[in-house]
Symmetry: C2
Subunit: 278 residues, 2 copies
């Protein structure tokens, strides 16, 4: 099944489920709110009226946790001469970091901004000290993300966080697809394009730590809750690793796609009046 | 002024303000809830009945962000032969990571657990793209924290997060003291003791990045909100840096103190049945 948070022309949002070729409203303002109350399968039974003239927005606007895995595509790791990691590299973002599938990413000029196409996992049930099978059963679904990174800030110190947590710079969406409909372990093509030029391509079958393994691992030290989002890493082809290095420019359109899930289309804007004061 | 979240014998909590030698109830269940609605100074004017038989618990149970600074005590950095950092090293915790000023910290056996006495800053007003003066004016107050760290997990990969975000392992409290009453820049003694033996001692005057500087820096990339908590780093004397290394043992009582603020008393327990399943 496919779920989303959809907005009408006024920006008013509703959770929704795809029924054939029609999106139907679910009784919640968005998928975060929905997942906090019930599993997606149960929610689907409460589908209401078909929606017209709605567009997808950030599906999970209020996760309690957003955790990211680095260094997780085996082909890329091996081709750069490194060994496969024994443990997942993890770092955190905030709910504020996330943005919608067609939102612009706006940053101050002068930063080195890079792309990172990622498969993201949505948690559907509480997990703590879970084994891999329990974790697998707790996956609500999969969605697409781009861990757009501010590389100069990321590498100012040894801890990446300050380059990874800029508000409204991690597009997520456009839909959440349940595990019965899409199986990353079987291999989904994950790609990234800049202004139509392909810059990343790999298969999710090459993930070192798959979704269930990663959720179980995280649950060892912290509780994961319905609506939490875990990004599973990016393949080779990122700008900072190129020679010469390449970064995003004002007006670049970044497309992030995972086959079987959908597409993010993100315009990068460098604006002198950003960030927006609180 | 001094504020706290206090609980009665049944565990029911209220925000509170110290009036002379009596704690008086404020109209909120805790300081997170209070700060979300009004500045502390305004809250103090709404003090209600004096409280009897209440004890301090985690003052901020629901921060939207908990951000920590590493490598921030100048004397310690220099004595280990390093240069003072140009930028603060930052990493994130979650609200789930925090625990109360007299709560046990419970972890599975076999982990390498270390102590890190820290001054913590509580945000009192929204900050984004703030300069240092604006950030200073947005400090609600100061409290004490111990960034208890699971060192073996912290160093499994280059990103520390997975050793820093174990649920209910970062004691915070016991009170929040407003900046008019305590000035870390002037130098507050910060100490840590294990079973009465002093293991850390320094002065907050030696912080490389003071509270206002750190908040302003963070606000460059993300919005800080009332009730958010920023830990400002730990002095020398941590266990992992000793030769031989030393880690906490079952039953150890860790006392963390900042002069002018208060004391945390934390018993470390290694329990085979932890973590608590979700």
């Amino acid at each position: 099944m496919r779920f989303a948070t959809l907005a009408d022309a006024s920006g008013s949002t509703t959770a929704a489920v795809l029924d054939g070729d029609r999106w139907r409203a679910l009784p919640a303002t968005d998928l975060s709110s929905l997942l906090a109350r019930m599993p997606l399968a149960q929610a689907a039974g409460q589908a209401g009226p078909a929606l017209e003239d709605h567009h997808p927005v950030l599906p999970l606007p209020s996760p309690t946790k957003v955790i990211c895995c680095g260094l997780n595509y085996a082909d890329h790791i091996l081709e750069t001469g490194r060994e496969l990691p024994r443990f997942p590299t993890l770092f955190a973002k905030f709910a504020d970091t996330l943005s919608g599938p067609s939102d612009d990413v706006v940053l101050p000029p002068g930063l080195q901004v890079d792309w990172e196409a990622e498969l993201a996992v949505v948690v559907g049930a509480p997990l703590r000290g879970a084994d891999i099978d329990t974790a697998r059963g707790a996956i609500a679904g999969y969605t697409v993300a781009n861990d757009v990174s501010v590389r100069d800030w990321q590498y100012r110190t040894l801890q990446w966080f300050q380059g990874k947590a800029w508000d409204r710079t991690t597009p997520v969406g456009p839909v959440v697809v349940t595990p019965d409909e899409v199986d990353p372990a079987a291999g989904l093509d994950i790609t990234c394009r800049i202004n139509g030029e392909e810059v990343q391509r790999d298969s999710t079958a090459t993930l070192v730590f798959d979704a269930a393994t990663t959720l179980a691992y995280i649950s060892t030290f912290t509780t994961l809750r319905p609506g939490d989002v875990v990004l599973t890493g990016t393949p080779g082809g990122v700008g900072v690793a190129r020679d010469p290095q390449r970064f995003l420019e004002d007006g670049d359109v970044v497309e992030t796609e995972v086959a079987g899930i959908g597409l993010l289309r993100t315009t990068i804007r460098f604006a002198a009046d950003s960030p927006t004061p609180a």
